[in-house]
Symmetry: C2
Subunit: 350 residues, 2 copies
């Protein structure tokens, strides 16, 4: 599949700095020679002049005009009511009609989630989609999900997240048999909430063919104890943002330490190559991009505040997922889950 040209559908009007940051991000990709074409949804009057000035991008892009877009502060319900024909809606519609393999938006998360469900619908066998994040660890990277598509998740939904997370880990991290951990707290008698214990019982079932390794704690995420970390969207979102805040705090401490005296500054100058690598490693733009799993089509969400480099990171991720066999993989795993848990299938059918 990687030899064919992948078509990616872009919501050019989503994001705090749209359409500029989006178009500049696409331009970065265009220069890097990916085998890709873009359907660029948005206001042609704003987009066309940029394209004219950037022939490499223009060559691989088709501008799909609409003068409607979803406001960054719109409530999902508002966005849904007035959503038809917006650049976000049309970007999703391109995936539904198979004109594109993947959609990317830096717009309002809640609106994108709600609209994706409505336009693309769920994969048969999945109750709710999940937002998955790639998380840097001591061993490389882990997939953490759900990081905020839903608030709560019951035991079966957590198992579905595990299945989708494992398939996603295979697709983008190339893990053959990704290990799966369920996020929990450690205290002996308090083995976590009911949904988590219920999911653990199901995941232990060998017939599911999952490499479930048991409960993991918050500190295990960064340790890389498991390739996939499964949790509900409320806990996952708080864990993700707590980690982002902590990384920022520690980076600030490092900066202070290296500017605290003339000697420290001189030392930092000498160590600048190492410190530059560190800066890149901690750059949130280098890990930008969450993916909605569980839909009939792949939708990627960039941070609303992403600049061109950040948006390009998400497009690169879209390229990897779009060229993988993720969808077939999820479907096969879900079938195994339903075969070994017939009562789950009944619930989905009803």
């Amino acid at each position: 599949m990687a030899s064919e040209t992948l078509v990616i559908s872009i919501d050019a009007m989503g994001g705090d700095h749209a359409p500029d940051s989006v178009l500049e991000g696409l331009s970065l990709i265009a220069k890097q020679g990916f085998s890709v074409r873009f359907l660029v949804h948005g206001d042609e009057a704003l987009i066309a002049p940029y394209m004219d000035a950037h022939p490499k991008l223009k060559e691989i892009s088709e501008v799909c005009h609409t003068d409607k877009h979803v406001a960054m502060d719109a409530k999902p319900s508002q966005a849904l009511r007035a959503g038809k024909g917006t650049s976000m809606w049309n970007a999703l519609q391109s995936v539904k009609s198979k004109d594109a393999a993947v959609a990317v938006s830096a717009g309002n998360t809640g609106a994108l989630m709600a609209m994706s469900k409505l336009v693309l619908r769920m994969v048969p066998g999945v109750h709710r989609p999940a937002l998955a994040a790639s998380w840097p660890t001591q061993k490389g990277a882990a997939i953490v999900l759900d990081v905020g598509a839903n608030i709560e998740a019951d035991a079966e939904q957590l198992v579905e997240f595990a299945i989708m997370g494992a398939a996603y880990s295979r697709a983008i991290h190339g893990k053959d048999n990704p290990s799966i951990g369920l996020l929990n707290i450690g205290s002996e008698d308090l083995k976590g909430i009911d949904s988590v214990r219920g999911a653990a019982d199901m995941l232990k079932d060998n017939e599911m063919g999952l490499n479930y390794i048991g409960f993991v704690e918050g500190n295990d995420i960064s340790l890389g104890t498991s390739d996939v970390v499964v949790t509900d969207g409320y806990t996952g979102n708080i864990a993700l943002k707590t980690a982002e805040g902590t990384a920022k705090l520690v980076s600030g401490f490092v900066k202070e330490a290296l500017t605290s005296s003339l000697l420290s500054k001189l030392g930092a100058l000498l160590a600048s190559s190492g410190l530059k690598a560190l800066k890149n490693r901690l750059d949130p733009r280098s890990v930008n991009g969450g993916v909605f799993l569980g839909l009939n089509g792949i939708v990627l969400k960039s941070h609303g505040s992403a600049d061109a480099e950040g948006f390009a990171t998400t497009v690169r991720l879209a390229y990897s997922v779009g060229n993988s066999t993720f969808h077939q993989d999820v479907e096969a795993s879900l079938s195994r889950f339903q075969a070994s848990n017939p009562e789950v299938q009944e619930k989905v059918d009803s």
Copy 2:
């Protein structure tokens, strides 16, 4: 109160390296001239030789012999059944009998929690105790609770945590009117789980006299957006451990960056004073110690793996809390809550 000698009751047999790490920690305090006396509960045969070799510590200590102790891997239910007469139990008993103002243990968290509830009982008006942690922020430090005493919390319990957290912030961080945030996720339509929304409604009530500032997200904790961050024990424990893991990951990245080349190493040498300050700042031993709030008496928990310096940090914290008016403060705030919410009082009474 600070002029009187504070008596602190010590579980000398709790912790991975007990009693050595505990006794060495106490020795550090003894050398620092705090106005303090220790009731040291544990095996006299192991403790007495250390005391004989450390006269400064011996002078301010009374060894209370018991040959029983709670195993680090005991389940809380086991620990409770066989708990009476253990060093942990006796340390708590000293607080109950008013022989000591505060108890400190590095033993099994679940066992300490269960035993503390049984021996000391809850403050009237509190349904469940909370474990509170001091969290480094860009502005100094915040109090986060509950970080693992309970799994779930309903709206009223979250309000009680807010009251206790505010009193604790006044006691140990000296904040006059600490700001309180409720940990939640940001997405517009998904205003978090029912308990959190319910707590928000109650905290908005001006008659409670709390400085409630609204919802905060995971990244706000390290930013120091609020002085107190309130959440349930499941989420709080995961957030705390995720932050610990992230700080460790980033520290590892920094170390790699500063040893990646000869020039970087030389730079690190020149910057060593700044980097040493950084190391101290990131040293988990410098923030060791959680406190159980809501009991008739103050109980502090040190990390089980704490060394002498880590244990001494918890004892210093015990000294601050023991010399504060924390208890009177909590009682007054709880009375205000009950006065403005009579139905809560009924629930407590029943």
